[in-house]
């Protein structure tokens, strides 16, 4: 491997971390369910393993893949659907950085979680979920030349983290996730003046559920976020008695 390639490769990956840390909590975010959590992989999830690919071709846009990725990284939160917030790390989307997410779940429940930037280079970046997230897995965002047209893609490799999330994914969660990334890709295409048509491909890589991982439910960020919200009045009442 050339020295330059080796250097680039080394710079593109996050350094190993046992538990996630966040530098601070952005105003408007609870920032719970992230600090102290271990990053996970599809190996550690409970549910069926899915590989989902969302793709849009930027027909008519004179733009290189690297430029698409630069814009995607820079403006990542702005492409998300309303009701979902991505609190980007101060250093931006860079290897090893941790972002806090507030997501709106069906029924209006707010779910706070986060992601670790596992990998980032000029052509792609990958986010990795922590314990308690709806799914254990990775999402890779990339751009590439597709027969003379630049295409942008989100590729998800995931298992629902625990039995409750698996039930939720089966009862509409997968569809909600599809809508999320389809909206994101259309918005990204719009940033380049393209009315994009998003294609979605979902493949169930492993139909088996990993019952040995059912205990992941103890980290469930949905339950913890709900409890955090329910306890808000008590936190307000006790605030004057807490030390500064």
């Amino acid at each position: 491997m050339s020295e330059k390639r080796a250097q680039r490769d080394g710079d593109a990956w996050a350094k190993p971390v046992a538990h996630l840390q966040i530098a601070g909590v952005e105003p408007g975010s609870s920032g719970i369910n992230v600090a102290g959590r271990r990053p996970t992989s599809p190996v550690h999830g409970f549910g069926r393993m899915w590989q989902k690919t969302y793709r849009v071709r930027l027909e008519g846009a004179d733009v290189e893949p690297a430029e698409v990725i630069a814009v995607w990284k820079r403006d990542f939160p702005t492409f998300w659907p309303k009701g979902n917030r991505f609190f980007a790390p101060l250093a931006g989307i860079a290897p090893g950085e941790v972002a806090v997410l507030d997501l709106t779940m069906p029924g209006g429940l707010k779910l706070s979680t986060g992601v670790l930037v596992l990998y980032a280079d000029e052509e792609s970046f990958t986010l990795m979920t922590p314990e308690g997230h709806m799914f254990a897995g990775w999402i890779t965002f990339s751009a590439f030349d597709d027969g003379g047209v630049t295409a942008a893609q989100a590729h998800v490799l995931m298992r629902a983290s625990d039995p409750l999330y698996e039930m939720g994914m089966t009862l509409g969660g997968h569809r909600q996730e599809d809508r999320h990334w389809e909206h994101t890709l259309r918005a990204l295409a719009g940033a380049f003046g393209v009315e994009g048509v998003v294609t979605t491909e979902a493949v169930c890589v492993d139909r088996r559920r990993q019952w040995g991982k059912a205990g992941n439910v103890r980290h469930n960020a949905g339950i913890r976020s709900g409890m955090y919200t329910a306890m808000a009045p008590m936190r307000l009442m006790t605030r004057p008695f807490r030390r500064a």
């Binding site: 491997m1 390639r5 490769d9 080394g10 593109a12 990956w13 996050a14 350094k15 190993p16 971390v17 271990r38 990053p39 996970t40 992989s41 599809p42 190996v43 550690h44 393993m49 590989q51 596992l118 990998y119 280079d121 792609s124 990958t126 990795m128 990775w138 890779t140 990339s142 590439f144 030349d145 597709d146 295409a151 893609q153 590729h155 490799l157 890589v205 492993d206």
Partner: protein
């Protein structure tokens, strides 16, 4: 996405153990080559598939994703994956992605094959 074929050779030290020699780059474009190599490595009696990363030049996150898919296929066949020849950098990647909990990493081929025996 451009499909490239990175040659991956397959050796069978025994009926129950196969070795896949991975060379060059492992990225999304390597899916066909890697899965083809696994198909050749996976016989009726194969219980251990050893991945030789000694000639690996570069692997990105999509490449790591391919290894997860490979792991699922191997588990389905009741096979175990082992690996050797990883540089310190890629050992750290396996640690970060926690793949090292599912794919046993060894220092050398002889050590990996001894573990499989």
């Amino acid at each position: 996405m451009t499909e490239t074929t990175v040659p991956m050779s397959v050796r069978m030290p025994s009926d129950r153990t196969s070795v896949i020699d991975i060379a060059g780059e492992v990225t999304a474009a390597s899916e066909g080559a890697l899965m083809d190599a696994y198909g050749r490595a996976s016989g009726e009696h194969t219980r251990w598939v050893v991945l030789n990363f000694s000639e690996l030049e570069y692997m990105n996150s999509s490449g790591i994703g391919l290894l997860v898919t490979l792991l699922v296929r191997a588990n389905r066949q009741k096979q175990r994956l082992l690996a050797f020849g990883l540089t310190e950098h890629y050992r750290q990647i396996f640690q970060l992605t926690r793949l090292d909990e599912a794919i046993a990493i060894h220092d050398s081929e002889s050590e990996a094959i001894a573990a499989a025996a």
